[in-house]
Assembly symmetry: C2
Homo-oligomer: 214 residues x 2
DNA sequence: TGATATAACTGACTATAGTCATTAATGATT
DNA sequence: AATCATTAATGACTATAGTCAGTTATATCA
């Protein structure tokens, strides 16, 4: 059991995965997700068909692989350049609208990507990375909410992690409605998302009941 | 263009659809969704393979067909026997827990059912029925919230339809987390769902800010 | 009732995702 | 450098969802 020194295999594997990623990216963009066959991806990546499935669990996993980098950048972007004066609701709508607008570049493919992340038996392969990415996003979101606490916009007693989860859930619902064709993009952002967030921030209780809790 | 009188065709079609439903139901229960082939369903329903796809758009549509009746009954049940004294949060947890516990009978198949409803291009065939079912459920839920208004549990200014949507979104997130194996059933109901609902009811704002709004 | 039109049904066919027994390449050990 | 062990790569193969050109059944109407 001696340490691997040359690392030829490791480098080859990394290179192969990157080739697969590039091939998938190119073909999905060129012909669309459904029209692309896994054989085409394998051929373009310069590997056998069987090999492809050593690197990705299934076809959808290829899509997740392609989206990983883009989403990472998107998370970065969505939290930068937030205007100081914006109220919380607008900040949140601003953050999440980045994602909606990104998916709008290719809604068809986005649907398959999001399907790959929802209601899966277990998150293996590239999906696991994507799940970790979402977890990181939720932490950043909770951080934003902590800052809102400091600004006095939200109550100090709030569980910001739970709040972040709630906002994500509401975002996801809007995303689903939009990609399902129930609303158009601008309506989704300016109405569905905003109204949902507004109600989450405001809550349902009348003031007198809230006072009772203190 | 004379009216159809005998209606032989209509009756035949209704009967065939029912046969398909029963065959699907039996086989999905017997061998599981994935292990069941569409040929088996067709054979058991006494029709050709091509005919099957005149009645269902695809395999998942068969699943939606099977679930339609069960969900209808479930909606009914979930709104009956609500204890008068329960606070809103408990009522809502109670309502939604019916669904989680129902899906717990066969979580594997439930995953495929829910996939069939999420991020689809368009809701055709049986899926359209399922979407209408959800819309009806949301209306009932909004009705519950209206009653909560009368009891003074929530503010009169609340848009109960939006609130119903929000609760559904939060429920769906919990459902997804549970079926994805991130939490067990009891945790999902007693923590994930309850905490999410709690925060939606309470809201995020400190009392002084709320007062400003009035 | 016979002729014609329309709607429903069919299973052979196609396309393709994912598997697996076999082969090739790399790394460890002497 | 020769041998062995482990890991990676391969493509022929399998399984099955969904299609479609051809066929059959029902309805309409002279």
């Amino acid at each position: 059991m001696v340490e691997n020194k040359s690392g030829v295999r490791e480098r080859n594997k990394k290179q192969k995965l990157e080739n697969i990623r590039l091939a998938s990216q190119f073909l999905f963009k060129e012909k669309g997700y459904e029209a692309t066959t896994t054989r085409e991806v394998a051929e373009r990546a310069g590997i056998g068909t069987g090999t492809l499935f050593l690197y990705a669990r299934d076809k959808q996993d290829l899509l997740v692989l392609v989206y990983l980098d883009a989403i990472e950048e998107l998370i970065e972007q969505s939290f930068t350049g937030l205007t100081e004066t914006q109220p919380l609701r607008e900040r949140l709508v601003g953050i999440f609208s980045h994602f909606l607008r990104f998916y709008a570049n290719d809604p068809e493919t986005a649907r398959f990507y999001l399907q790959a992340l929802t209601f899966q038996k277990s998150l293996e392969g590239q999906r696991q990375e994507a799940a970790a990415q979402i977890a990181r996003f939720l932490n950043l979101l909770a951080g934003q909410l902590e800052q809102a606490k400091l600004r006095g916009e939200i109550s100090l007693g709030i569980d910001t992690v739970q709040a972040a989860r709630n906002f994500f859930g509401l975002y996801f619902q809007t995303l689903s409605a939009w990609l399902g064709g129930l609303v158009d993009l601008e309506t989704a952002i300016n109405h569905s998302l905003r109204n949902a967030f507004d109600l989450q921030i405001t809550g349902l209780q009348p003031p007198n009941l809230i006072d009772k809790n203190f």
